[in-house]
C-alpha cells in the first residue's frame, strides 16, 4: 500500500484547557479531494492549519507522502512546504496590495530560490493564463480585480511551486454564486491536470457534493463521520451529519417542509450504537466514550460500541 498524500494521525490541539482539535484522524489519498466540513467552532480551520504546520499540534502525527513532519523544525520543513500549499477564503487579505499580480504569483519561486528573475516572470504569466486570466494582468494590482479573479490569483500562487497537496480553506465562501462555479471548476481542472490532492475545508455542503471524493464531518473538534461523498449524502449515519444535510435549503419551492431541529444534547443522545460483531474492525468494547468505528464501504462513524 502506498502512503497517502497527506495523513493526520490522532492530531490534537488545545487552546488553554479546551481541545479545539481532539485526536483527529484524516487521510487525503493521492489525486483525491477530501472535504472537511463542520460549523463554526468545529475545529475544521484549525485542523487545516495543523496539517500545514502553520500551527503546532499538541499531539499526534502529520505525514506528507508517508514522511512524518511532526519532529521537523520550521527550517527543516522548508523543502516540504513546496509540496503543500494553501488557498484561503479572503483573497483580498491574503494578497499584498503593494505587489503586482505577477510579483505575487512568482513570489513563492523566489522564496525557494528557483529560476532566474526573467524565468519567474514568464512562469507567472503562464500561470495567469492557466487560471483563466489574461497574461497582461501580470502588471496589475489586487484591488483592480473582482473577488473571483483574486481567488484565481491566489490559486495560481499556491500551485506555481507544483505542490502535491493543496489545502483550500473556504476558497469559494466569499464568492457570488455565478463565480463560485468558476472557481470550483478551476480547482477540478487543475486537480486533474496536476494530480493534486486537495483538503477542501468548507461549510458549504452543495459545493462539497460536486467537488469531493470523500467527506469528513467535524463537530466540536472531533471527527464524527467519514465516508465517500455519495454515501454521506445518501446514507449518513451520524445524527449531526443528518442535521447538517437537512438544514441545507432545497432549490425546489414545491419541496418546502417544516424542519425539526435538534439541540446539541439531542444530537449526542442519539449517538449511533453498534454491536462489535456488526463492525468491520475490532473496536474497544464497552467503553462509554464514543469512538470512530468502521462500517462497510470505507464508512466511519463515531458511535458507542457494545459487546
Amino acid at each position: 500500500m502506498t502512503a497517502a498524500a497527506l495523513e493526520l494521525r490522532q492530531v490534537t490541539k488545545r487552546f488553554g484547557d479546551q481541545a479545539a482539535v481532539d485526536r483527529v484522524d484524516l487521510v487525503v489519498p493521492h489525486n483525491k479531494v477530501v472535504a472537511l466540513v463542520g460549523e463554526s467552532g468545529s475545529g475544521k480551520t484549525t485542523t487545516g492549519l495543523l496539517a500545514l504546520r502553520l500551527l503546532a499540534a499538541n499531539g499526534g502525527q502529520i505525514l506528507l507522502d508517508g514522511q512524518d513532519l511532526t519532529p521537523l523544525s520550521q527550517k527543516a520543513l522548508k523543502p516540504f512546504r513546496r509540496q503543500m500549499q494553501v488557498v484561503f477564503q479572503d483573497s483580498y487579505a491574503s494578497l499584498d496590495p503593494m505587489m503586482t499580480l505577477g510579483e505575487i504569483i512568482a513570489e513563492p519561486l523566489g522564496i525557494h530560490g528557483l529560476f532566474t528573475a526573467a524565468e519567474r516572470r514568464d512562469q507567472a504569466r503562464r500561470w495567469l493564463e492557466k487560471v483563466g486570466l489574461d497574461a497582461g494582468y501580470a502588471t496589475r494590482y489586487p484591488h483592480e480585480l473582482s473577488g473571483g479573479q483574486r481567488q484565481r490569483v491566489a490559486v495560481a500562487r499556491a500551485l506555481i511551486l507544483g505542490p502535491s497537496v493543496l489545502v483550500a480553506d473556504e476558497p469559494t465562501s466569499a464568492l457570488d454564486v455565478s463565480v463560485k462555479a468558476q472557481i470550483v471548476n478551476l480547482l477540478q481542472d487543475l486537480q486533474a491536470d496536476m494530480g493534486l490532492s486537495i483538503l477542501f475545508i468548507s461549510h458549504d455542503l452543495s459545493v462539497v457534493r460536486s467537488l469531493a471524493d470523500e467527506v469528513v464531518v467535524m463537530l466540536r473538534g472531533r471527527v464524527v463521520e467519514r465516508a465517500p461523498t455519495d454515501m454521506i449524502f445518501a446514507g449518513a449515519r451520524h445524527p449531526y451529519t443528518r442535521a447538517l444535510l437537512d438544514a441545507v435549503p432545497v432549490l425546489d419551492p414545491k419541496a418546502r417542509r417544516r424542519r425539526s431541529f435538534m439541540s446539541a444534547e439531542e444530537i449526542s443522545a442519539r449517538t449511533p450504537r453498534y454491536r462489535a460483531a456488526e463492525l468491520e474492525t475490532q473496536p474497544l468494547v464497552d467503553t462509554a466514550e464514543p469512538q470512530l468505528v468502521a462500517l462497510a464501504g470505507s464508512h466511519f462513524v463515531e458511535a458507542i460500541v457494545t459487546g
Binding site: 454564486v177 462555479a181 468558476q182 452543495s206 460536486s210 438544514a247 435549503p249 425546489d252
Partner: protein, 326 residues
C-alpha cells in the same frame, strides 16, 4: 393600498473617481401579507434598493430619485429626518446580515429592544422592558427574562439574530425587510432562523421582503421573486414558476450554476465573466456580455421589464413566447 411601492428608482453614489450607479430604474411593489424575495449577486443593487426605501443611505454621497417610493402610502422622498424616523421601525422594520455587529455592544439586549418601543409608543420604560421579555419569548429564546440583561457579546450569533428579529417585531411593523439575515450564520442555525421568520410572517400577516444571494433561501421562504442584476430587475414572478421555468437567461444561468444539485463529482455549469462594474455599466442589457443568447440589439438598448405571462415579467428581448408557454 400597497405596503411598498417602488417605481423607477435610481440610486447613485458620487465617489472621488466618478459616479457609481447602484440602482438603475427599479420598480416593484409588495401587497399586504405577501412575501417577496429579492435575489441577486453582490453589486446587483438589491440591498441598496431596500436601504433607499428606508432612506438609510447617507445623502450625499448617495442620490435617490424615483417616480414613487412609498411605505404604506407614505412617500419617503423629500420628507424630513423626523418624519422618516417615525416610519422606520413602525411601518417597516429591518433585520440585517451580521447580528454580531448589528447591536450596540455597550447596552443590554433588553435596553435595545425597549428603546425601539419607547421611540414609537407612549409607554413607560418598565412596560417597554416587559414587552421586550414577551418579544424574546416569541422568537423562542429560552429564559427571555435573563436574556434582556445580557450584553450582545454574551449571546451566540443565532441567539442574537433572534433578538434582532424580536426587536424588529417590537412595533408590529407592516413590512419586515430581512437583508441576508442568515448569511453570517451556521447552516443549522440558518434553517432555524428562516423557519422562525416564516412562522412569524404567517402568524402576523405582515409583508416580508427577503433580500438574499442564496437561491435556496428564496425557494424555501417567499411567494414572489424579483431577480436583480447590474442595478436592474431582470425578472419577476411567482416563486414556483421562476424555479421551474425561468424566463430570463440570467435567472436560468444562475439556477444552473448552483452546485450540488445532483449526486456525483462533476464540473459545474458556470457563467463566464464577472458582474458588471457599477461605475461603468455596459450599454444595453447589463447581462449581455455574459449572455449566450445576446444579439446586437441587446448591446445597444436595455430591454424594458415586460409582462411575458400572467404575473410574470422579464427584461429580455430574447424570451420567446413559446418558452413562456413551455
Amino acid at each position: 393600498m400597497r405596503l411598498v411601492e417602488i417605481e423607477d428608482l435610481h440610486v447613485s453614489f458620487s465617489q472621488h473617481d466618478g459616479l457609481v450607479q447602484a440602482v438603475r430604474g427599479v420598480s416593484f411593489g409588495l401587497d399586504s401579507g405577501e412575501s417577496l424575495g429579492i435575489v441577486g449577486e453582490s453589486g446587483s443593487g438589491k440591498s441598496v434598493t431596500c436601504a433607499a426605501l428606508l432612506r438609510l443611505l447617507r445623502e450625499p454621497p448617495a442620490k435617490i430619485t424615483a417616480k414613487t417610493l412609498s411605505l404604506s402610502g407614505h412617500s419617503v422622498l423629500g420628507i424630513s429626518n423626523r418624519a422618516i424616523s417615525t416610519l422606520r421601525g413602525r411601518v417597516a422594520a429591518m433585520v440585517f446580515q451580521d447580528p454580531m455587529t448589528s447591536l450596540d455592544p455597550v447596552f443590554t439586549i433588553g435596553h435595545q429592544i425597549a428603546e425601539t418601543i419607547l421611540a414609537h409608543r407612549k409607554v413607560t420604560k418598565r412596560e417597554a422592558l416587559a414587552q421586550a421579555v414577551e418579544l424574546l419569548r416569541r422568537v423562542e429564546i429560552k429564559n427571555p427574562g435573563a436574556v434582556t440583561n445580557y450584553y450582545p457579546h454574551q449571546l451566540s450569533g443565532g441567539m442574537l439574530q433572534r433578538a434582532m428579529i424580536a426587536m424588529a417585531l417590537s412595533c408590529e411593523p407592516d413590512v419586515l425587510i430581512a437583508d441576508e439575515p442568515t448569511t453570517a450564520l451556521d447552516v443549522t442555525i440558518q434553517a432555524q432562523i428562516l423557519q422562525l421568520i416564516k412562522d412569524i410572517q404567517a402568524e402576523t400577516g405582515m409583508g416580508l421582503i427577503m433580500i438574499t444571494h442564496d437561491l435556496g433561501v428564496i425557494a424555501e421562504t417567499v411567494d414572489r421573486v424579483v431577480v436583480m442584476y447590474g442595478g436592474k430587475v431582470m425578472e419577476t414572478g411567482p416563486v414556483e414558476a421562476i424555479f421551474s421555468a425561468p424566463l430570463h437567461p440570467y435567472t436560468r444561468a444562475l439556477l444552473n450554476s448552483v452546485p450540488g444539485q445532483t449526486a456525483g463529482k462533476q464540473r459545474l455549469v458556470e457563467i463566464a465573466g464577472s458582474s458588471p462594474n457599477p461605475s461603468h455599466p455596459p450599454a444595453g442589457c447589463p447581462f449581455h456580455p455574459r449572455c449566450p443568447l445576446a444579439v446586437a440589439e441587446c448591446r445597444q438598448t436595455a430591454p424594458p421589464l415586460e409582462t411575458k405571462a400572467a404575473g410574470r415579467q422579464a427584461a429580455c428581448i430574447r424570451v420567446a413566447a413559446e418558452m413562456v408557454a413551455a
